[in-house]
Symmetry: C2
Subunit: 385 residues, 2 copies
């Protein structure tokens, strides 16, 4: 038995080394980084013997110190449970931690990340005993663009095993520069849904995460445009088009999945520009969505003024309010869109339209959007129970 074990280990070492030919040998991969102690202290390390200066930047910020072997390190203590993004800056160049394979992309920036488990971060971690939903990348036909377009669909645990059960649907929208992968990556939407549904805090639901960039068919690397670095400007070129053509996505969803195609079982929520889209989609279809979630919504902006769905806004809002959708508005007190949301809420107040308001610390960040989703999900699809 001992002999077998040793032989196997030797084989694996050889094989892994040769597989790595395809990629590249990694200097410094032998250091441990990030090293997490007691779920609250983190050390970031990098082997860079020739560097003159190194620092950690991102959700954590601090100078790194060099040891005699050329390993730089920085330790951060007493950190609250959360998902942390960071990068390392060496002599003015930002790089990802070569010892950490966990990376997420936001627009054109890739960061390393880790999760400190605990109360706040709990919905973001994978629970070993929790039933998991299925996450699918699906292409739907888009007559408006003459193409097919990619979206992400979450179906809850039990969907395949209960072939006659219908489900409500949440449409969950990204912001400027995002795509159909964003909520599943930095948003940790899969884990949040799995955990809240397993705990009975949210109803089992289908969640559809489309791509709102109408000039794109899919996220980078999955698109016929080839391997082009995403350009945040692209999504601005067609104001109103995503909102106006949203029926393509609803029709595809209702015809492909076992949905309950009524307003009481249909929600739409989004972050930043997706928060604006949420409003526009509902304004254009005032009887179709029972629940709206506007996270750090880009309302009252030039993007809104350029888009047809938001013209004659007061009358449209009154018409929408006739259907009495549940409206949740969430924003951080440091958000650059905070005043815009104050104005929008005043507008709703003046029109006598009710809504739930969530104000958090912080700004325009995924850290807040994860929390808002965690807050929103338990409130959805309760009218029909």
């Amino acid at each position: 038995m001992l002999k077998s074990f040793l032989s196997v280990t030797a084989m694996v070492t050889l094989s892994a080394g040769v597989i790595a030919q395809e990629t590249i040998n990694t200097p410094g991969a032998s250091v441990t980084s990030p090293q997490i102690v007691n779920d609250s202290t983190v050390t970031i390390r990098i082997f860079a013997p020739q560097a003159r200066h190194a620092s950690v930047v991102g959700d954590l910020n601090g100078e790194m110190a060099r040891d005699s072997e050329g390993v730089w390190s920085a330790t951060f203590s007493s950190l609250p449970p959360e998902l942390y993004c960071y990068a390392i800056e060496i002599d003015g160049v930002r790089l990802n931690d070569p010892s950490n394979v966990h990376r997420v992309r936001d627009i054109a920036t890739v960061s390393d990340y880790f999760i400190l488990p605990g109360d706040t971060a709990l919905p973001y971690t994978v629970n070993p005993s929790t039933a998991h939903g299925t996450v699918s990348k699906v292409w739907y036909p888009s007559p408006a663009t003459g193409t097919s377009r990619r979206l992400t669909v979450y179906t809850p645990s039990g969907y395949e095993q209960n072939p006659s059960a219908p489900y409500p649907v949440l449409y969950l929208l990204h912001g400027t520069g995002g795509d159909e992968n964003s909520w599943g990556e930095l948003g940790r939407a899969t884990q949040i849904l799995d955990n809240l549904i397993a705990e009975g805090k949210a109803r089992p639901m289908i969640v559809v995460m489309p791509n709102a960039n109408m000039t794109e068919q899919a996220a980078p690397g999955e698109s016929p445009r080839g391997l082009v670095t995403p350009d945040a400007k692209l999504s601005a070129l067609l104001p109103g088009m995503f909102e106006e053509t949203f029926d393509e996505i609803v029709s595809f969803t209702d015809s492909t999945y076992r949905t309950i195609p009524t307003a009481d079982n249909r929600a739409v929520a989004g972050l930043s520009r997706g928060g604006l889209h949420t409003l526009g989609i509902a304004l254009l279809r005032p009887d179709d969505f029972g629940y709206l979630g506007m996270f750090s919504a880009a309302i009252g902006t030039d993007a809104e003024k350029a888009s047809a769905p938001y013209r004659d806004l007061d009358n449209r809002l009154v018409r929408l309010a006739n259907s009495d959708p549940q409206i949740v508005i969430a924003i951080g007190n440091d958000d650059f869109l905070y005043e815009n949301n104050v104005e929008f809420r005043k507008r709703l107040d003046d029109l006598g339209i009710s809504y739930t308001y969530i104000e958090s610390e912080g700004g325009h960040s995924w850290r807040n959007w994860r929390k808002y989703l965690t807050r929103l999900l338990p409130s959805l699809f309760r009218n029909n129970q």
Copy 2:
């Protein structure tokens, strides 16, 4: 109209800047890299004014030169169509190209990549007019490990729209250090399948890509183990277990998807250690798989000798040959497992067992495995036509 356009652009710029708060400002993101000219010349650039030395490493290798602004660059010409992986090394530290968001992970190494389109690379690109299959991340129950485990399932275009059509199944296995994401990432299996099926070169099929690391439930970031950097040794600790428990995956697939549960409609193929697994799975179930694909297979190794499925190998091979499966063996002439495969083929020859042999240039690399998959797919599921 002009006014609207300008306003929207201003808004987007502001919004993108603030969203980036969550990640990190990217020095050097303003340079273009990789820059591709005429589908055959590529320039890699990085802004690193304080660097003393910079080079490109990986599928492309070359020194970078510094301009007066501190931008380093290297140009590679007359490159054949292919998918290229690379990284940048600055003063001994390997880093990813901050201007390229396209990255793939192989075990614990993340590389940048780009694709030069053309004959060889054609099946790896996304064709805008091609119908696309659905790629799902699904969890299956694993009584053997007492957990649920994650796998990737490709269902071809038309699967949802033809609710009575059954499909053959290919089980596609990764190598040591890989996981359920590997074939979809560095393997470009989704694009290869979409393109060959659309062209009528491969039959529409379901493809199941499991995780063979029996000590893991899922790929890094998706696993309850938390955000732990993958350890290539883990998968070696349970020799034979993946092969012996493979029925869990077949049962789940046959009960969840519209499969044709016969040997003529069931194939298994894998790379490196997955090539060994392919053989072991078939040896244990000699009547269940009509097609076997062994890519750079880790046969004749200590890993094999430590595993129960490969004992009494000649008799097992003869028993397997009674069912006459189609066997494809593919390997590069530089592969460190080349001689092992020579010996294995001699063994098959001596036993009078027939197989198809593909020998390519190169070694133990994804570049070869993508080609072998492209060669294998058209030959599958033809016995029953």
